[in-house]
Amino acid sequence: MSDERVYRWRVGAVATAALVSFALLFASPLLLASAVIPLAYVVYGAISTVPPDATVRVERSFADPTPPPGEAVRVRLTIENVSERTLPDVRVVDGVPDDIAVTAGSPRACLSLRPGASTTVSYEVVTGRGTFTFDDPLVRLRSFSGGRVVTETVPVEGETALSSLDPVSAPPVGRRTTARAGTHPTDSGGEGLEFHSTREYRPGDAISRIDWRRFGKTGDLTTVSFREERAVRVVLVVDARPPGRVRPVAGEPTAATLAGYAAERFYENLRDANVTTDVAAFGVDGTDPAVPTGAGPVPWVSGDRRNARAVARSLFDTVQSATDDPGSVQSPNASTTVDDALDDDPLGQDEARRQPVATESGGDGSRPTTDTNASDSPAGEPDRAERTAPDGGDDALRFLLSQFPSTAHVLFVSPLQDDWPVQFVRRVRRRGYPVTVFSPGASGRDSIDTSGHESNGPTVGDAIDTSGHESNGPTVGDAIGASVTAHERDVRLSDLSTLGTTVVDWGRSEPLEVALAAALASLPGGNRG
């Protein structure tokens, strides 16, 4: 606590002396008498003070103490004057953590409080993943004249920490389980329960499927086809590449962070419904021993493996760590140009060619391995990081797709901040897989944050700026860049729709639960009601 005296009214002494001088100059009794006025202010400044028993009580509450990352939470701060004197000037600044963004309202307030009176100040914040502890608010009291200033940190009552909703403990999405285990009828004919079509009998068809009734009437042998039953299987693909690690304002989670969170929520819901779910992640360093990989370098967790859930959770933890790193946008792989989106080089083969890929004998000669890369690279660790490009190259993608079960429904979670996801989906669709795309937006807010936060990383407006300079906060140029980026994303969403995919676009202003439920409802066996 600090108690300071501020000599604001020393100017009164100067004015008094000046008036006395002028009075002598003009021989004016009026001016001599008017010297009382500044003198009165000097006395006023001297006798005005902050009451010694001046105390305020501060209570904080959150509208939702465990919000999903990216959703706005209203914070209420109630300040009450518990002393017996009027406090004419109470200034409060709440202890908002540096790494979360205030998106509406202000955590600062200037109040005048009578004895026993209270005022509530509210503002909204958006958090990322994790736990964020608020500091005690700073309170500054001033006297009527402003000549006495008392500053202290007041212990807050009520809530002090915000924790993002843990996907593991989150309740199920939607009113009912949206995807269920077991089999589901498909559009192809064969063995099954539900009638599909009839055709001419071929030798080898099962006798039980011959339409005997028709044979009795017409003498023609026909075979009945039923809708084939297939086991529900989902491949969950997360796009955590650097182009998606952008945020609308400093302090908000990146779009890739939200993608990772949504993917984890999907996974937990699907596993709870006993749906076999495989997981793949782009943008994660596959050479890290802690990261599970499959046949290729792209991180992969098979739903059939032992401890699949635990392994998948560790992969999601890795995704979260990678996507929360704002500096990774400067990766050379984070090109937002269309170079990576060419049909003949959809996955950045040029990037793969730039990397010194050494092959190991015994394989097909075109498959990079971490051990070989480490031994052949004179640069060691940096080259290894470069070679584990976010998409791994065309060969890596081919290996990945080869691991997809034939009956899988692909659930692709991507911020769609560049053209690569569209190329990826096109490639998956060519192989006949049904695809649902869930995309968290990078800029869902209409206003630009002018609170003076320093940027903790690139904003959406920087996504198209490849000059590499650091942002000092959103500007008019950033607002224009955000509009362009949003428009480009809309075009990608439209392109994905034309590919026959189900697209769920999650704008940050709408509840995440609603968007998750819509995406899960599109999966086979999912309820739409």
Partner: protein, 548 residues
């Protein structure tokens, strides 16, 4: 532990550095209170026109300060501010000058010699009160415009001084040429004509020397300079950048060869220069006999050949011009175009002032003379009318108007420099310079207004207003810095400013009572001087106690 110190308390953590913009309520209080008070005081002691023009002056001055602080459209903003400097000076001259003339006209001539001094004091008080009121208005209008800062004041002073240069030079040239034309003798050649004659003479020496004699010195100088210019011109050209990879070396070699030859020729010519001085020492006829007539004739033909001279001079001009042009282009490429434009805008502004004066000189001169003549009393008016007519007749209306325009811009430069100096030596607090200026101006206007005969309510009201303005401005600036300009602290501000106003009104009432007691014989038998001394002692004791 309590600490006592001057100024604002130490900002702790997140309380500091939110915004440098003062709050809206404090800005409104400063602006309204200052403008109303200053206008009323000026209107009480001077003509109404002075009050109106003072308001105009404040708006233009504050607007100019705002313009020089702009980053967007900076060249345009600086040019406009430069042009506005004429109006800043003109309005200041009208507001203060007209008040002065009006006061002089009202108070003079006197019937008694003893009245000269007090009336002179009154004229001075009136003028200073209007000047202070005008300054107060500048501070008041600058508060919402947020244009008054230490750096912006210096920027504007620099702009005003640079803008002043152009009309000053033009006016000086016009006046000088007129003077020289009048006193230059029968030729009556103006300065520009003499310059043209001089230029023509030099041309004849270089290109068309007198035939029949040698011109060794000038010819050798040209022969020495020409290859030097050629060499410098070739070196300045971007030959290596323009050549291809295949021709690069060949081009460089040839350029070096030419430059080398040029340097050798220049060296030889320079070595011969002392020899050529012989024609300065020896007269042509003896020199002719010394060198033999054929050789002298050859040298005379060679050194006096107009074609050869033209070739040499042309070579110097072309090569030198090339070198200068390339240097300018290189400089422009390296320099930001915007910076160049900004550095040139004061001169554009000055030229615009001259242009404006040139266009309007016929329209403004006579009304201005009539206005000033009407403002002056009696014989002063007659003398002014006579003198001004003579000046206009002698120099011409254009020269007079341009000179007056230059003086007005000069006045603006002085005002701006004064303001810049005041901010530089921290006479104005950096947290709220505009409100402080407004408060100081209002205070001085009220104080000097008392000497100019302003009624007591306006004097006391002015003093109270000045202190309220200062307090509201400083409080609002601190609140804006700690809380942000739009954090809803209007109620708190209202409480604070209200308390300040109440204290001021109480002080004004007390001052009124003291004034009446001191000037009236209310207390019979109580001498006034001892009473005043006692009051002063009490006040000093209170002051010391308050400041401890």
């Amino acid at each position: 532990m309590a600490e006592s110190r001057e100024g604002a308390p130490a900002d702790a953590g997140p309380v500091s550095a939110v915004s440098a913009t003062p709050t809206r309520l404090s800005t409104a209080v400063v602006l309204l209170a200052t403008m109303v008070t200053a206008t009323l005081v000026i209107a009480q002691i001077g003509p109404t026109l002075a009050a109106l023009v003072a308001v105009f002056h404040a708006v233009v001055f504050a607007g100019s300060l705002w313009l020089v602080g702009r980053e967007r459209w900076r060249p345009v903003a600086m040019a406009v501010a430069g042009i506005c400097s004429l109006f800043v000076g003109a309005s200041f001259a009208v507001a203060v000058g007209y008040t002065f003339l009006d006061a002089v006209a009202t108070l003079y001539p006197v019937t008694d010699v003893a009245q000269i001094r007090p009336r002179g004091l009154r004229v001075a008080s009136t003028t200073v009160a209007v000047l202070a009121g005008t300054v107060a208005m500048v501070g008041g209008v600058s508060t919402p415009a947020t244009g008054l800062r230490g750096d912006s004041a210096w920027e504007y002073a620099k702009l005003a001084v640079e803008t002043f240069v152009v009309p000053l030079l033009v006016a000086a040239l016009m006046l000088l040429s007129t003077l020289l034309a009048e006193f230059g003798g029968p030729s009556e050649v103006p300065v520009l004509g003499q310059l043209a004659n001089a230029t023509g003479g030099v041309g004849d020496v270089l290109l068309s020397p007198a035939p029949g004699r040698t011109h060794l010195l000038v010819f050798t100088v040209l022969v020495a300079i020409a290859p030097l210019a050629v060499g410098r011109g070739i070196e300045s050209l971007p030959l290596s950048e323009l050549a291809t990879a295949e021709t690069h070396e060949r081009v460089a070699e040839r350029a070096e060869a030419v430059a080398s030859v040029a340097r050798r020729v220049a060296l030889v010519a320079a070595a011969l220069l002392p020899v050529t001085l012989v024609e300065v020492v020896v007269r042509p006829l003896p020199l002719r006999n010394l060198l033999t007539p054929p050789l002298y004739g050859l040298l005379a033909w060679l050194t006096g050949n107009p074609l050869l001279r033209s070739l040499l001079v042309g070579t110097i001009v072309v090569a030198g011009g090339t070198a200068v042009s390339v240097w300018v282009v290189r400089w422009l490429v390296r320099t930001d175009a915007s910076s160049v434009a900004v550095s040139l805008t004061p001169f554009v502004g000055g030229a615009s002032v001259v242009l404006l004066a040139s266009v309007l000189h016929g329209v403004v001169l006579q009304p201005t003379r009539s206005f000033v003549t009407a403002a002056l009393p009696g014989e002063f008016a007659t003398a002014f009318a006579r003198q001004s007519a003579a000046i206009v007749e002698f120099y011409g209306s254009l020269a007079v108007v341009v000179t007056v325009a230059a003086m007005l811009v000069g006045m603006t430069a002085v005002l701006a420099l004064s303001l810049a100096l005041v901010t530089r030596v921290d006479l104005l607090p950096t947290s709220a310079p505009a409100p402080a200026l407004a408060a100081a101006g209002t205070f001085l206007a009220a104080a000097f207004g008392a000497g100019a005969g302003v009624p007591a309510p306006f004097v006391l009201g002015g003093i109270v207003t000045s202190l309220v303005v200062w307090d509201a401005g400083e409080y609002g600036a601190t609140l804006g810095r700690e809380m942000g300009a739009a954090t809803g602290g209007a109620r708190t501000e209202g409480v604070h400013v209200g308390a300040t106003l109440v204290v001021g009104l109480a002080g004004a009432l007390l001052a009124t009572a003291v004034s009446r007691i001191g000037t009236a014989d209310v207390l019979t038998g109580v001498p006034t001087v001892p009473f005043a001394l006692a009051a002063v002692v009490v006040a000093l004791v209170l002051l010391i106690l308050a400041l401890r």
